[in-house]
Symmetry: C2
């Protein structure tokens, strides 16, 4: 970066908000993926105007700008793949407005997810998407990845809740898109187009989110199945019924074994476990829904169906599901957490064939995830110090993604494409769709300064 | 159209599927708006391949192509504003797949909305958006306009249900966008970007729609309020509560008077009527929700709250709302049916100020609409044979749209922009947002052949 450019950037945010210190740059080289690349500098912006001026300079000089929230992304989305500026927006962290009668809230992109939920709670309202990194991740990151979570089966993902955005284009021009209303048919939907665009089309500086009343009651049940096929059939029956559970999680035999062994949870030796939750305004209604689901589980040869009678019992049923993250940390193993998604009817097929692929490639994996929306977290173990295992990783990943796409699925249910999945895009999207993505990117960011090197936009044919 | 082009088009679909007969062309000059323009020819296509070949020819020769379904649009979307080809897709009317376990269906764009609902009914499932023209309108048109309806307050609009599309670009290239899964974060969301794009970006040739289980029970209540402000406060309280009704309709004093006089419905002389419906899996639960709402209505000084005890009584409560369309037809008056939408908290303000604008401009209007999502149908009466009234129409429309935007609203909740609202776009969208829409249009349709003259894409600065 030349001195004139450096000075121009310092003039915008002040010298204390630009860093070229090696320690800082190393920190800003990573997100939660295995990718890394060092930026030339990092900056903190606190206003839309600063973001606009930074992009004007960067666009004129052709400097890459990678926006960063909490850096919890699993796909390399916040890694400055081609250097340049990391633009940290975590200081734009104000909740600007909560309007419950309009069922919306206006926030800056750096607001931490958990802080937003805490601000909504006194109203009895909540923001339904619930990424696992909610304690630290930012709402801007949620929008950039179209984050999902446990409750998407009933409540949908981030895209379903973004009403309006303020965004800065590569040129530095600021625009508002979407509407502050529950519905709109007014011009192209630039708002949802920006959701999930991973910082490659614009920098989001303000977000208007739909919020929803929180159900006062919930009921939880856990069922175990001797075969994956029975569990898959149970999911199918629930989806075929009038009941839409608020949670429908699946754990496969491998993760059940691991939890028994390493987290010391008392679980039977079965191929699948389903955890289900219903919610609603009355206790009677959530029990009614849960009983219906329990009946369907029993009709699919569930070895056991346990309905929680109290909050404590519900906590107990959640224990296995909630212990997975901690157990993975304690195991100190290298692993890849995937987020492949398939149509719900294909879950058992995917799980069975993923076991087969695990055997073929000689790498262990287990599956858990959101069976109610088909989003499966396939976790693949490998030893990063063993070149032979590392060499086998990529072919296995390719086969898993190909399998998902062959079953009518998608590469990513909630993590995004970023750097990790760019190479698989042609498995899911046809040539014309990929070309169209690149055409739109080029139209909005002709100098390719916004998060270059992501989502395959630079290199696919 | 030169002979070579005519022959090229005939070669694609056969001579019986191209018409230049004046009677046909007159029919294809209109939709349900007041706009008209004659095309050079009309064509019926029955396959994606035919659509692709037609667009290739049109793109090469620079001939406008305006896609048409049932022609029920209220915004001039299907009017061939610059002549060329009207491409009628009503013969692409097959329901290709219904997969209840995956909670989706695959349809061609010409499928009539009501036929689709009829096909889903035996499964206990339905397609939640419910445009008033459902008996005749096509699903392709629903997608092109992002159609809404009575139940959007709880169930959302068409965009929320479009999972995947097959679409033909202006070049004739065919692409699939979106995914056959409940969630996806895989590349730009081209799918929702095409929803509501009014045939200006691509021709949609196949649609994958999310479907939902139909609630077995519903309960209905009707409340009348002496003042608009009390009714507005009642809407606010409901939105502020844990209950999300499946219907929350408002009728203002003017339409109540008209119904009393012309439809002979026994209604009191009040400023507002709210019709509410709750739905769910048990009778107890829908009553529980309805009682909660009735209590809120009473707390807002409702003059009367009537809860239907039977299906017949519910029908009775719906009578006023359902009679509006027929009454308007019987009145034989010229009128403009608007679909302005405001944040729910602004409904009373909008209604009161729209009365004021009616007085100022000397044209009668009444309001009814979907209070639960802020979507109001302002109907303006005028005498089309009176040049003075016609001259006053446009300033009133401008002021109404400006008022909506000043209150944080949107120009169109469900009809689309088309030709009728293009001139108001700058009231809602800033210059950069409008420029971005045009940039994206130009990137995908550089020869401007797809439904040119719509959505202000040709002329805004």
């Amino acid at each position: 970066m030349d001195n004139a450019t450096r000075q121009a950037l310092i003039d915008i945010v002040g010298p204390e908000n630009v860093t070229e210190k090696i320690m800082d740059l190393v920190s800003y080289s990573y997100d939660a993926s295995s990718y890394e690349h060092r930026p030339d500098c990092a900056m903190w912006a606190v206003s839309t105007e600063q973001v606009s001026r930074i992009l004007s300079v960067a666009n004129e000089k052709g400097i890459p700008v990678t926006v960063r929230g909490a850096g919890t992304g699993l796909g390399g989305l916040a890694v400055p793949a081609q250097g340049g500026i990391v633009l940290d927006l975590t200081r734009m962290n104000s909740i600007l407005e909560i309007s419950i009668p309009d069922r919306l809230a206006v926030v800056q992109p750096g607001v931490v997810y958990a802080d937003f939920q805490a601000a909504l709670a006194p109203y009895g309202f909540f923001f339904p998407p619930d990424p696992a990194s909610g304690v630290v991740c930012t709402l801007g990151g949620n929008v950039a990845t179209n984050a999902g979570g446990l409750h998407a089966v009933k409540y949908g993902t981030t895209r379903d809740y973004v009403l309006s955005l303020e965004a800065v284009l590569a040129s530095g021009e600021v625009m508002r898109v979407g509407a502050r209303t529950m519905k709109t048919s007014s011009g192209y939907d630039l708002c949802r187009f920006l959701v999930g665009s991973e910082g490659t089309l614009a920098v989001i500086t303000e977000i208007t989110l739909k919020v929803a009343p929180k159900a006062a009651h919930r009921a939880t049940a856990l069922a175990v199945f001797h075969t994956l096929e029975d569990a898959g059939e149970a999911v199918t029956r629930v989806m075929h019924s009038e009941v839409t559970p608020s949670v429908l999680e699946l754990l496969d035999g491998s993760v059940i074994s691991l939890l028994r062994e390493h987290a010391h949870i008392d679980l039977p030796d079965v191929e699948a476990l389903l955890l289900v939750e219903t919610d609603g305004m009355t206790e009677g209604y959530v029990r009614f829904q849960l009983e219906k689901i329990a009946e369907m589980f029993r009709g699919c040869n569930a070895a056991e169906v346990e309905l929680a009678a109290t909050e404590e019992e519900a906590e107990g049923l959640w224990k296995a599901r909630k212990s997975i993250g901690g157990m993975m940390g304690a195991l100190h193993l290298d692993y890849i957490p995937e987020d492949i998604t398939v149509p719900m009817s294909q879950i058992a097929t995917f799980l069975r064939q993923s076991e087969e692929l695990s055997r073929i490639h000689g790498l262990d994996l287990f599956n858990f995830g959101h069976a109610g929306d088909g989003n499966l977290h396939t976790n693949i173990f490998f030893d990063g110090n063993d070149p032979d295992q590392v060499a086998r990783l990529e072919p296995l990943l390719y086969d898993l993604h190909k399998l998902a796409c062959d079953l009518g699925g998608t590469l990513s249910g909630e993590h995004g494409i970023g750097m990790t999945k760019a190479k698989y895009l042609p498995l899911e999207h046809d040539r014309t769709a990929l070309k169209t993505m690149r055409t739109l990117k080029q139209a909005l960011d002709p100098n390719n300064i916004l998060n270059p090197g992501k989502m395959g936009l630079d290199f696919f044919p």
